[in-house]
């Protein structure tokens, strides 16, 4: 594969590769970090990566955001060209996904608060030590 092939490939796919990298970062933080808040941050990165992925699917080169322009002048669908607007569906889906991730994050924060109330630490190894003492 020569240089000439690689550049178009990068241009065509870099968004998707980026999302994979972002997701790996988030996942790693969730698995390997010791601090619960850091894990939560990792979780957020992880979920954001998915949002990036979906929104990337929705992009269409040469198209604009999916709000029909000039509705009052040009009635009827003859005036609407699908190619002019980007794909609205992934945006809708991601609105939902964002809400879900916010909700999850809220509950997770509440739990973190509870854990901190009880043990005054959020480091996982310390928590585990405290629990095994009992």
């Amino acid at each position: 594969m020569g240089m000439t092939d690689i550049i178009p490939l990068i241009v065509a796919k870099y968004n998707y590769w980026l999302f994979v990298v972002l997701m790996m970062i988030g996942l790693y933080a969730m698995i390997a970090k010791n601090n619960l808040i850091k894990k939560l941050v990792g979780m957020n990165i992880f979920q954001t990566a998915i949002i990036l992925f979906y929104v990337s699917i929705g992009y269409k080169s040469g198209a604009t955001l999916p709000i029909i322009q000039n509705v009052h002048e040009g009635h009827g669908h003859a005036a609407i060209h699908a190619a002019d607007y980007i794909n609205p569906l992934p945006h809708v889906l991601m609105l939902t996904a964002i809400v879900v991730s916010v909700a999850t994050f809220g509950v997770a924060m509440a739990l973190a608060v509870k854990i901190y109330q009880r043990y005054h630490t959020l480091e996982e190894d310390e928590l585990r030590m405290r629990l095994s003492e009992k």
Binding site: Y54, T104, I115
Partner: protein
């Protein structure tokens, strides 16, 4: 217009919201609202099941839009059955739970019932929907509610268990979401039937393959297939017993349903078994899950934990059965889905009675239980035998199909694992029974006669009736399993 399919899901949702209002107005009302909501839901589910048996698959268009554009409910024999199962179990559990809730979370009853209803709504929605993304949203509702519940009961370990559950749950759900995204990439659609039609011509695409794997891993994490099970035992044993009684039988089973639905409706047997050749590996995984679940259960000293690990073991049954790739295996998996939900429910009902009377259910708390709580133990014993697989309880018959499916597929290791796990379960339960039967509890001994004259201290009647009724239903379902297979499962499998 036949609105029953929507009503199955909407009734508990509406009830949840009204119960949420009642929290601030009159806390006691929430219980009756919940009962009403679930009763309507169960009734609708029954109606729908009858309709589906009589006249075939029902499609219900949400907001009136046709399928790929809008979201549809597509209710065929399989999910009609599962819907009835879920709403019925949720209703019965609610009846049995009144006292448990009074005892454990009396100051926040209203919130508890609201969350409970939302959880059931989520399960019902997951089962009814024909849309891949809608499925995700509802999975998240069930997860979110169970996170909250897990944290509630045990002050020490609950929150941490719940937080770990969140991490794993989010990974699972996100994998599923990613899988759906990969499929969307190649199909542009989210409707299951539509996606299935489009990917039928793209079987060699690596994107579809990865999408499939991601969906499966996501669902497996959510159903706690070994080795992705680590969250389950903690999560289930720390939640309030009224909640663990519904989450334990239903959550994993619904995920198994999702797996079967994805395999059958979206990807198709042709793709999974003839193009991919993954089935052998998965059956091995299931074999290991069955054995590992049993062995881990042996190591526990808390009854709640034992039951939780038995769930891990049972999941292996269903995953393995579904992936054997033949009709008997799939029949067994579906039948076991039904049976296992009932068996686990019956076990947890017994457990709930014990928790109510004893507080703790470590094994050495259970001494003399046969004389103290004979009715509870009757139900519990029947359920335990069903798990072991003693005919005529239902557990035997699904195992029957699973093992003959394993023979048919030549997966002798899976058959062996099933039999070994039966034996392990027998050992487990008799370990418990021996404590309950032979040892007398120190605090309740009568006047110098030892265990022979122990005081009876039974759980309240409402709980006993439900637990014995459910245990009895194990036998009824068992002897009628032929009918269930003939009227529901086989027509479903032949219809695809």
């Amino acid at each position: 217009m036949n609105n029953y399919p929507a009503l199955i899901v909407i009734a508990p949702l509406l009830a949840a919201l009204f119960a949420g209002l009642a929290v601030w107005i009159e806390d006691r009302l929430s219980y009756y609202i919940a009962i009403l909501g679930l009763a309507v839901s169960s009734f609708s589910a029954l109606k729908v099941l009858i309709q589906v048996i009589e006249s075939g698959t029902i499609q219900y268009k949400m907001a009136g839009w046709d399928a790929p554009v809008g979201i549809e409910y597509r209710i065929d024999l399989l999910n009609a059955m599962v819907l009835l199962l879920i709403s019925g179990i949720a209703l019965f559990n609610l009846i049995a739970s009144y006292k448990n809730v009074e005892q454990e979370i009396s100051d926040r009853k209203g919130s508890f019932y609201t969350i409970y209803l939302l959880f059931v709504t989520g399960l019902l929605g997951v089962t009814a929907t024909g849309d891949l993304f809608n499925l995700y949203v509802l999975i998240e509702i069930t997860s979110l509610t169970s996170y909250a519940m897990v944290a509630l009961s045990d002050k020490d370990r609950g929150p941490l268990a719940s937080l770990n559950y969140i991490f794993i749950g989010v990974i699972g759900a996100s994998f599923y979401l990613l899988g759906v995204g990969y499929l969307y990439m190649k199909t542009g659609s989210l409707n299951m039937m539509d996606v299935a039609d489009i990917i039928a011509s793209q079987h060699d695409s690596s994107t579809v393959l990865v999408g499939f794997i991601l969906c499966m891993i996501g669902v497996w994490i959510k159903m706690a297939l070994f080795p992705m099970h680590v969250w389950l035992p903690n999560a289930y044993s720390y939640s309030p017993v009224a909640f663990s009684r519904v989450v334990a039988p239903l959550m994993t089973k619904v995920m198994v349903y999702v797996m079967i639905r994805l395999m059958i409706t979206v990807f198709g047997f042709e793709y999974i078994f003839n193009t991919l050749h993954l089935s052998e590996a998965v059956v091995w995984l299931a074999t290991i899950a069955v054995l590992a679940g049993g062995v881990l259960a042996l190591a526990q000293d808390n009854l709640k934990k034992i039951l939780a690990y038995i769930i891990v073991c049972e999941i292996g049954y269903m995953v393995g059965g579904a992936w054997l790739g033949n009709q008997s295996g799939m029949t067994g998996a579906i039948l076991h889905l039904l049976n296992d939900a009932l068996m686990t429910f019956a076990l947890f009902l017994g457990l709930g009675n014990m928790v109510y009377m004893l507080g703790k259910v470590k094994l050495n708390n259970l001494q003399g239980l046969f004389s103290r709580m004979p009715w509870t133990m009757t139900g519990f014993v029947v359920a335990a035998f069903s798990i072991v697989g003693v005919p005529p309880t239902c557990g035997f018959f699904s195992k029957w199909y699973l093992i003959s499916g394993a023979f048919e597929a030549g997966a002798y290791h899976f058959a062996a694992a099933l039999i070994i796990s039966s034996l392990i379960c027998a050992i487990l339960f008799f370990k418990v029974f021996e404590i309950c039967f032979f040892q007398s509890s120190p605090d309740l001994q009568g006047q110098g006669h030892g265990h022979k004259f122990q005081v009876m201290a039974e759980a309240p009647v409402s709980m006993l009736i439900v637990s014995n009724l459910v245990s009895f239903s194990l036998i009824v379902v068992g002897v009628f399993s032929g009918t269930i297979v003939k009227t529901i499962i086989l027509p479903f499998l032949q219809g695809i």
